[in-house]
Structure formats: structure tokens, C-alpha cells
Amino acid sequence: MIRSRRTFLYSLPCAFALAACGGGDSKAAGNPANTPAAAPTEIRISAIPDFNKGKLEETVGTVVAFLAKATGLKVVYEPSSDYSAAVNGLVANKLDLVWYGGLTTVDAQDAAGKDAELLACRDIDLKFKTYFIANQKAIADGKIKPITDLADLKAMAKTLKFTFGDKKSTSGHLMPRHFLVAAGINPDQDFAGGAAYRASGGHASTMQAVANGEVDLGALNFSYYDKAKPEEKAAAPIVFTTPEYVDYCWVGHQRLGAATLGKIKDAFLKLDPANADDKKVLDAWGAGKFVAADPKAWDSIRQVKNALPKGFLE
């Protein structure tokens, strides 16, 4: 209640300012800030920076044109500086529609409440996986060998340099940490020098660090790995695959209005792999197809997040 009253209060001066302009600035007048009732003129979309900037722009580019066509609105891509910025941007009326990971989807639900609407996710997001990949040389030297049970890693961990991905990545940090802890491994103490993280560049950065031997072992998004160049894969083979979990999701803000949100959702669900144009979008996103997102599915991520020992934050 407080939030909506604040919204109203803040929209007042804007409304006066617009009235004073006398509608001369038609672009601003058509899209008064923070007024959910008004039909939007543009959609600001973003995505968590799970790859480096170049790769992300390439992927998001395919969806910009497709969404503009589906909604008849202008679609603008706003890069997000980090995972958390993508969440804050949605609440702060900087972004309207964001491609989140599992953990950030939960954050967006918590931060924006009912205003955050989970729209669609890829087929693969309901059965997502993390790969543990190791440096080829470390495998050849026998420092590490492919394992079937993470608990087997404990014996080798002392000599291994390990990196997670971004701290807020579901597949690069949250879930691999969860599975390691479940296997009796404390990543902050058991690996040589504790676990490292990637400051930026997401999964591409993890792949690079493992491939060039800066670390022996890394945890990353299986979908990124599957699409990587063969020579990179050869330099960093998979040693372990985690069980499946829920991950990425398109989340929209209610300020877009139910009609627009509905159009966006339909457009994603209607993407048809048999249609050549649709196939391009699906391929860019690594999706077979998009399916409707059931918010309850992400509760499992919330549980993992809450139950995880938080020593790494202290």
C-alpha cells in the first residue's frame, strides 16, 4: 500500500510538469513515469550479464526485433552492469522486461512483489544443469579425473584451483555450491586457496580461465558450454554433470499493463521451430521452444538459496 501511494505522490510533480509543457513534448507525454494504467510506448528489456557484452548483444538483438513486431511497441535494449542491477532496474522503473537466471528471478519476485510477472522460459530451463569442467592438462597429469559422484572430488580438492562463475549466477554459483555442500565439500576451504569467482564476463570468463589453466576446475552453464567452440571444449572437458534444476525466465513488470504482458507471453509461446524466422530466435537463445512459466517452479531455487550455508558472505 505504501508503495503505491509513494508512486502516486511521485507521479504528481511529473504530471504537473507535463501539464506545464502543454503536450509539446509528445514523446514524454505519451509515457508518464510510473503510471501503470497508461499504455506504454516502449519496452526496455535487459538480461543478466551471464556472457560477455558482445555475445549478449548478439543474442538480445534477435529478440528486440521480434518483440517489437509482436507488441507494436518500440523495444530498447539496456545492458545491465551486474546481476543485481538487473533486479534493481526492474523495481526502479529502469527496465520493464528482463531475462533473469533462477536466483535473480526469485530476487525479482521478492523485490517487486506482485508487480513481477513470470512470463515464459525455455524448455531447457526446467531441466537445467551445471557442468564441472577441468583443464585438459590437469586431467592429463592425473590431478583430476572424471567423476560420477561429487563426493569423490573431496579427495582431489586440496590440490585443485577452482572457480565458480558470477556470484549471482544460478548455474555458475548457487547450484554448484549447493551440490558441493550436499556432497560434504566446503568449497571455501577444501579447494586450494578457496573458491574463486569471475568478476565479470559470466560463463565465457569461467570457460576461458579453465581452458587457459588459470584454474584447474570450474562450474558453468551447460547450455553455454554445449554451444562453445570445439577447440575450447577440447581444452576444458566435462568431468561432472549436476542433477537438473530450474533456471532462466522472462519476467515482466506490471507497469507494462496486462494486455502488453499477455502479448509478450503469447509471442514467446508461439515461437515455432518449424518456422525459419522463429527458429533463428530460438537458436540464438539455445531454446527448443518457450513454455509458460509457473511461478511455483522457482520456489525450489528459493529453498536452495535460503538453506545454503552463508559462510561465503561473512
Binding site: R3, R6, T7, Y10, C14, A17, A28, N31, A33, N34, N52, K53, G54, E78, P79, S80, S81, D82, Y83, S84, A85, N88, G89, V91, A92, N93, K94, D107, D110, A111, K137, D141, K161, T163, K167, K168, A192, G193, G194, A196, Y197, A199, S200, G201, G202, A204, S205, Q208, A209, A211, N212, G213, E214, V215, E232, K310, F312, L313, E314
Partner: protein, 563 residues
């Protein structure tokens, strides 16, 4: 001027204890040296990437991209410093004892309000300065996005903190006799400031602003790593692509930009020096030349700033409409959350432990860099390599003289290279050999600050009047250096080294996010995991560290920075 013997012992002993503690407490990663095999692996890795690295991508698209990003970087730095100066000016006035109190009696009305103002301004400056520009960028980018405006604002905030403090101190340090005439005619505090202290300190201030601009260019070239735009964003993209030829292109562009500003700023500062006692004094200039120079200077600055605004117009133009549509209620809650720390004893104890890393990085890198730069300064000094004939009467054959010029230019060039590559970029390069962890971070700070200190050390050395060296002219050059020049230069070196220590601790915080761990790493983790109260504790700890080091340097009665 070497201080009382007691103080020397305390200082020396303190430094040795700090070094030993740092060596012992820091979580080194030295697995590269664990065995002959792992060392071989490290050289393999370097060899593999060196091939690509030594062949920078100089194709047209790569060069155009680098040029565009380099222009972004320079524009971000210039506008950042300009905005920072605008913000620093009023805060510096508020934090200057002379302006706020003047020589009014202690029981003058409004004393309490004024001291509140003074302490408030000083605290604000400490906060602005204590939070590194990287951290400002992480905080701001949430609402301004990943673009040049973020970098500009982040640099403006941190520059404001540094400039505000130094400006205020410089105004307070003007000797009172120099504006006594003004005061005796009944001028008020503001008039004394405007017509007395401010103009008298203007030259030193300008020199310091030039130095900060140069630093800002270096910082702007990496702030893109956390969303600030410019070369840093490109560097990190190419690195995560594993494209080492492009990494080399980016580093070359960085070097070009930083070295150009470095040399340009230094030439300008040289022009500002009018000390007639200086061995290479330019002498004073007449009024007309002075006015002409000033006009040209103002013109050039305005032209550069306009060009920067024009270049970054697209993101700047959007700021207004973006600010209007942002939901300020949320931003207010977010900011308040970050200002209110979690003060539970367990958290405080954790914070204290995490602070060891940036402190240790600062101590080790600064002490080693001081020793390295101190020795290298001898080889980079004009006074000791080129002009000893002015005080020893030695006559050198032309070839020896030429060789010495090579030595001077080579050492100075090395310094330029060391400081031209920012710490974060050094970490990327060194991590290939040492692997991710603390060691490459300490070395990165060490290398960079050696470059920074080498220049100011050599400059101080060349400022030592030759008549001081004549007294022991019978000795050989290293002896003259040790017993003649060093005692004179040392107090200045010590001040520079201490200032560099403060800077290096902040860099230690920043590098936490790229592998060093500690304060910066934990702050970012808590911010990302939305544990705002704990993130706030870490944020305040950064500020407290800076304040503590600042107060320590005052207690040690270090000389003020001369510019």
C-alpha cells in the same frame, strides 16, 4: 629534516612489523612454484598466449573500436574531473578551518553550527574519498546503466573526495603573513579566502588537479570492467573471449592514452613551477605573457570539455528523462539500507579480518615499490646522470654521456610503462603465470605503484639544489646520492609513499573483486545477495580505513604534498 630520532625508530619499526605481519597473514597463492612441473606449466601457459599477445590485432575494425573506446575513456576522465572539481569546491570551503572560523574568537556566535558544518564537510569528503571509484561505479550502475555516464559519475565522486581534502588543506596551509595585509584592512573571512588564500594556493592547486586528471584517465581506462564504459569494458570482453591479440590491442590503446596524458600533464606542471631556487627554474614571466597563457589555458580546457560532452552526448542527453522516470522511493530505500550498517560483534570481527587483505596488499606493495622506485630514481635522475659536472666538475666523453641519456630515458620509459598499465590490467596479465589469487594482485599493485613513485621520486631528486651536493663532491655518485641527496629528498619521498599507501589500500579493496578476496569481495557478495546491512558495514569499513590512514599520516607530521 629527517625528524626526531625517536620518530624514525617508531616509523621504521612499525613498517617492519607491518611487513612481517602482512607476509604472514596474507593468503598467498604460490602453487606455480610448488614443483618444477607446475613452474613448467606456468611457462607453457605464458608461451601459448604470448604468441598471440605479441601480435596485436591491428586490423581496421579492431583499431577503430580501440580508438572509439579510447576517446570514451578520455572524455569520461575529463568530465569526471570537471564534475568532481565542481563538487569539491564548496565542500573544500566548508572543510577549511580558515574559511569557516578565520581568526574569530572561540566564543564568537554560531561556533557550534560552524564546527558542525566543518565536521560534516570533512566526513562527506572522507566518504567520497574512502569509497573507491570502482565501488561507486558498482553502486551507481544499478540506476544509470552500463555506459559512460556511470564511469563519469563514479570518477567525479571519488575525485571530489580527494580534491576537496587537498584544496581545503592547501588553503589552510597558506602562511598567514602572506595575506596579513588583506586582513588588516578589515577583510572578512570570505574576502580573505577569495583574494588571499585562494589565489595564493591556485598554482599548487592547478598542479594537483593536473595530477588527478592523469590518475582519472588511468582509472577511467579500467572502470568499464564494472560497467563504466571505455577501454576497460573492451579489455574484459576480449579477455573473456580468449582473444589475446585483441587484449594486446586494448592494452596498447590504454598505454597510448595514459602515456600521452602523463607526458602532457607533466609538461604543463613543469610550466607552473616558478620557484627561483629550483635548479631548472624557468624564472618569472611578465604580466602580459601570464595573462595570455591563462587565456590559452582556459580556452583549451573549455574546448576539451565541450568536445567530451559532444562525444558522449547520446548517454548524457538521456540522463534527464531517465532521472524523471526512475522510481525514487525505491532508490531512497536502497540508499538508506546501504547507509545503516549491521553492527553485530560477529560481523564487526569478520570485517576486521577481511580488512587485513587490502591493508596487507597496501603495506607490501608500497614498501617494495618505495624501495624499487627509490633505487631506480638514481638512474632516472637528470641531476645524477646528466649534470654531475655542475657540482663535481667531472668531464664525460660524449659516448658515456650518450649512454647515460639512454639510461635516463630507458628508466623513465619503464616507469611510464609500469604506471601506464592500470592495476586491473596487470592482474589479468599476471594471472596467466601465477593463476588467480592474491599473489598476482599484490604484484600488480607493486608494479603500478613503482611506476607512479619513480616519477615523483626522480622529480624530487632533481629538485635538490646542487649546492647541497657540492659539499661532498669528492665522493662517487652513488655516495653523493646516499649521503647528499637522499636526506634532502627523503621527507618528500616518505610523504609520497604514505599517500601511495592510502591509494594502494583502496586498490586492494578494488582488486578483491578480481581475485584478491577480502573487503571488496565480501562487500560485493553481500550487495549482490541483497544483505544490505552487512554490505553497509563493509562499505563503512572502507571509509574508516581511509580515515585511519589519513589521521595516522597527520600524527606522523608528514609534510604536505608539494605539487
Amino acid at each position: 629534516m629527517t625528524g626526531q630520532p625517536r620518530q624514525v625508530w617508531w616509523l621504521g619499526g612499525g613498517v617492519i612489523v607491518a611487513v612481517l605481519l602482512s607476509l604472514w597473514l596474507l593468503p598467498w597463492n604460490l602453487e606455480t612454484f610448488a614443483s618444477a612441473e607446475s613452474l613448467g606449466d606456468a611457462f607453457d601457459r605464458v608461451g601459448r598466449y604470448l604468441g598471440q599477445f605479441l601480435h596485436p590485432d591491428l586490423t581496421a575494425p579492431a583499431v577503430t573500436r580501440a580508438a572509439r573506446l579510447a576517446a570514451d575513456t578520455v572524455a569520461v576522465a575529463l568530465l569526471g574531473v570537471a564534475l568532481g572539481l565542481l563538487l569539491a569546491w564548496p565542500l573544500a570551503i566548508g572543510s577549511s578551518r580558515n574559511v569557516v572560523f578565520g581568526d574569530e574568537p572561540p566564543d564568537a556566535p554560531g561556533r557550534f553550527v560552524r564546527s558542525l558544518l566543518l565536521q560534516g564537510c570533512r566526513l562527506l569528503l572522507d566518504v567520497l574519498r574512502g569509497v573507491p571509484d570502482f565501488v561507486w561505479a558498482i553502486l551507481i550502475a544499478n540506476f544509470t546503466g552500463t555506459n559512460a555516464v556511470t564511469g563519469m559519475l563514479a570518477i567525479a565522486l571519488s575525485v571530489a573526495g580527494i580534491l576537496g581534502k587537498v584544496l581545503g588543506e592547501q588553503w589552510d596551509n597558506v602562511e598567514p603573513q602572506r595575506y596579513a595585509a588583506l586582513r588588516s584592512t578589515g577583510a572578512g573571512r570570505l574576502a580573505v579566502f577569495l583574494y588571499g588564500q585562494q589565489p595564493l594556493a591556485a598554482r599548487a592547486m592547478l598542479s594537483f588537479v593536473l595530477m588527478r586528471t592523469e590518475c582519472a584517465v588511468r582509472n577511467a581506462s579500467v572502470i568499464g570492467v564494472v560497467g563504466g564504459g571505455g577501454l576497460g569494458a573492451g579489455l574484459w570482453d576480449d579477455y573473456t573471449d580468449g582473444n589475446w591479440s585483441r587484449v594486446a590491442t586494448m592494452l596498447l590503446a590504454m598505454l597510448l592514452v595514459t602515456a600521452t596524458t602523463d607526458v602532457a600533464a607533466n609538461l604543463l606542471r613543469y610550466q607552473l613551477r616558478i620557484d627561483p631556487n629550483h635548479p631548472q627554474s624557468r624564472g618569472t614571466t611578465d604580466r602580459r605573457t601570464g595573462t595570455r597563457r591563462r587565456l590559452v589555458g582556459v580556452g583549451v580546457v573549455l574546448a576539451l570539455l565541450s568536445a567530451s560532452v559532444w562525444w558522449l552526448w547520446a548517454p548524457i542527453a538521456r540522463v534527464g528523462s531517465e532521472l524523471q522516470r526512475l522510481e525514487w522511493g525505491f532508490i531512497g530505500r536502497y540508499t538508506t539500507g546501504l547507509l545503516l550498517p549491521d553492527l553485530a560483534p560477529a560481523t564487526l570481527w569478520n570485517v576486521a579480518q577481511q580488512a587485513v587483505i587490502p591493508l596487507g596488499v597496501g603495506v607490501l606493495a608500497t614498501v617494495a615499490a618505495t624501495a624499487l622506485a627509490g633505487s631506480a630514481a638514481f638512474f632516472a635522475s637528470i641531476a645524477f646522470q646528466i649534470e654531475p659536472d655542475r657540482y663535481t666538475g667531472e668531464r664525460l666523453p660524449r659516448t658515456r654521456r650518450a649512454l647515460r641519456w639512454v639510461l635516463v630515458v630507458g628508466t623513465r620509459g619503464l616507469g611510464l610503462l609500469l604506471r601506464g598499465i592500470p592495476e586491473v590490467a596487470w592482474v589479468i596479465l599476471l594471472s596467466v603465470f601465477f593463476r588467480i589469487g592474491l599473489t598476482p594482485c599484490v604484484l600488480a599493485v607493486l608494479l603500478h605503484s613503482t611506476g607512479v613513485l619513480l616519477r615523483v621520486f626522480a622529480e624530487t631528486l632533481d629538485n635538490v639544489p646542487y649546492r647541497r651536493l657540492e659539499q661532498i663532491a669528492g665522493a662517487c655518485r652513488p655516495q653523493i646520492f646516499l649521503y647528499g641527496a637522499l636526506p634532502t629528498a627523503w621527507p618528500d619521498w616518505r610523504t609520497y609513499a604514505f599517500f601511495q599507501f592510502e591509494v594502494n589500500v583502496r586498490i586492494g579493496v578494488v582488486l578483491g573483486t578480481v581475485g584478491a578476496g577480502g573487503l571488496g569481495d565480501k562487500f560485493q557478495s553481500n550487495l549482490l545477495f541483497r544483505e544490505f546491512a552487512r554490505a553497509s558495514t563493509y562499505l563503512w569499513a572502507m571509509v574508516l580505513l581511509t580515515i585511519a590512514i589519513d589521521r595516522l599520516s597527520r600524527r606522523l607530521l608528514l609534510r604536505r604534498l608539494k605539487c
